[in-house]
């Protein structure tokens, strides 16, 4: 028995062929006249000052963090949602507790102003 993912495997092969073919064809037909100015970093025509690695704010990280937490919670909620019809009524209570804790996380981040983009 082939896995239900077999088609995905085949599709991956073909999907990667598309950009390869496209880029390959373009490589054949396009002009190639590099010079240092073309290859310099684009900064609206100005000379680049300093490295690329300006200090970024941890704000970004906090959004990713929230995302991870909610994503995991969603993953645990999905089996619940699928099985919901076959589950007894207390499944509702369990899930409500689960979601309440999740909401608590959101409320915490909210109250701590971790979600504010300042």
């Amino acid at each position: 028995m082939l896995s239900e993912f077999a088609f995905v495997g085949v599709l991956i092969v073909f999907a990667s062929l598309l950009p390869i073919a496209g880029l390959g064809f373009a490589w054949l037909v396009r002009p190639k006249k590099p010079n240092p100015i073309k290859k310099s970093t684009y900064e609206c025509g100005l000379e680049t000052i300093g490295g690329t690695w300006v200090q970024f704010r941890a704000q970004y990280y906090i959004f990713a963090l929230m995302f991870v937490v909610f994503d995991v919670e969603a993953v645990f909620l999905l089996p619940w949602a699928v099985a919901y019809d076959q589950l007894p009524a207390y499944a509702l209570i369990e899930a409500v507790i689960f979601i309440a804790i999740l909401a608590l996380a959101l409320v915490y981040a909210w109250r701590k102003d971790a979600l504010r983009w300042s």
Binding site: F5, F7, L11, A15, L18, F25, W27, R30, T41, A103
Partner: protein, 390 residues
């Protein structure tokens, strides 16, 4: 797909089933991976230009071919022949991999899209979660592109893109969980089959959350901060040109289509419509037409939105996602779960009505809360002003 395979084996009796399956897979893959992207991009770019132009009281493309219909082709040729520039300080390998990954991710979503009765790459048991998961690859592509360009704008653009994508993925997932709850399955085919009444009418709030968040997910106006020219040039693909840029471009339009397609499957009943069914070729074709029509309608709405609204600020964007959509989606989820366990609502009709009522309550309560909060903050601001004056 299974129908096609059996049709093929009856057509050529000596063909073994696995080989027939392989052939069908290869053909359908080729359609999805080559024909669909090209056709979609050409058609939708043309459509978008025309729609936007009409909304802005212009004519739009009208030179290449009749009514400018060949404009897409002309663009493709131009892209192909553009010189490809890789910045000197770029990380070449990652720089080249990023656009490929973007396209692959966009194509992979098609695998589970139920475009017509019985026509679906593979009806995964976890189909809808698969769609969400593949979306993660797109984020990865953006990060790779932004990082490898070695350009401040690209990097900031990548950060912003990913922050926005992850923020709006949560309401999407929560809306999806609501749909899964109502249909009892993550299989897209089963979700379509469960929509005797489209979820658009029973779960309108979930649809709105999904649709709005989808627009943000594909980074279109009013959520197109990823490429806010005035701030960060073109975002993470600032340094890309020629065919590599075209790859991102193609990915974007395929994304547009798949987002609308998924929304169609989840909320508009997919290919369902009068006469559509797996029984006959005509039914299948009719289903495909319904699907395409519904999807294009959604795409049109997105274009309309783009033509009407202005870009919002990033803090508003994130606030809207986390402080409005996510709480409402959570609330909705609990409300629908509650309705589904109310023992009185045991007939399908009552369940639909119950869900609709839950949606109504959720939207009313959340809007009331928003109004209250707005009034509160406004009066607080007024007090602040008064305090300064006094």
């Amino acid at each position: 797909m299974e129908a096609t395979i059996s049709w093929l084996t009856t057509l050529i009796p000596q063909l073994p089933v696995p080989t027939a399956r392989l052939i069908v897979y290869v053909v359908y893959s080729a359609i999805l991976a080559f024909a669909a992207p090209v056709v979609l991009v050409v058609a939708y770019t043309y459509m978008e230009r025309k729609v936007l132009a009409r909304l802005q009281d212009r004519i739009g493309p009208n030179r290449a071919g009749p009514l400018g219909i060949l404009q897409g082709l002309a663009d493709a040729v131009k892209m192909l022949t553009k010189e490809d520039i890789t910045p000197a300080k770029a990380d070449r390998i990652v720089f080249n991999l990023a656009p490929m990954l973007a396209v692959v991710a966009a194509v992979l979503v098609f695998a589970v899209l139920p475009v017509a009765p019985g026509v679906i790459g593979t009806d995964l048991k976890v189909g809808i979660l698969y769609v969400v998961a593949i979306g993660g690859l797109g984020e990865l592509a953006a990060l790779m592109a932004g990082w490898s360009s070695n350009n401040k704008f690209a990097l900031i653009g990548a950060f912003r893109t990913v922050a926005q994508l992850v923020s709006y993925e949560i309401p999407i997932v929560l809306a999806i969980i609501t749909v899964v709850l109502a249909s009892g399955s993550m299989q897209l085919g089963a979700i379509v089959a469960a929509q005797d009444v489209p979820f658009l009418f029973t779960l309108p709030v979930a649809f709105l959350i999904f649709f709005v968040a989808s627009i943000a997910e594909i980074g279109r106006c009013p959520f197109d901060l990823l490429e806010a020219e005035s701030e960060i040039v073109a975002g993470f693909h600032t340094e890309y040109s020629g065919m590599k840029f075209a790859m991102f471009f193609i990915g974007e339009y395929m994304h547009l289509f798949s987002a609308a397609g998924i929304a169609t499957a989840l909320f508009l009943g997919g290919w369902r419509g009068p006469g559509a069914g797996e029984a006959s070729i005509l039914g299948v074709l009719l289903g495909f037409v319904y699907f395409l029509a519904k999807t294009t309608l959604l795409v049109f709405v997105m274009m309309w939105v783009r033509g009407t609204l202005f870009r919002i600020r990033i803090d508003h964007l994130l606030d809207f996602g986390w402080k409005f959509l996510v709480p409402v989606a959570l609330f909705l989820l609990v409300a629908v779960a509650f309705v589904l366990k109310v023992p009185v609502l045991n007939s399908p009709t009552f369940r639909w009505l119950g869900m609709l009522a839950a949606n109504g309550v959720v939207i009313l309560v959340s809007l009331a809360l928003v109004v209250l909060a707005a009034r509160h903050s406004r009066s607080a601001a007024l007090r602040g002003v008064a305090g300064v004056d006094g």
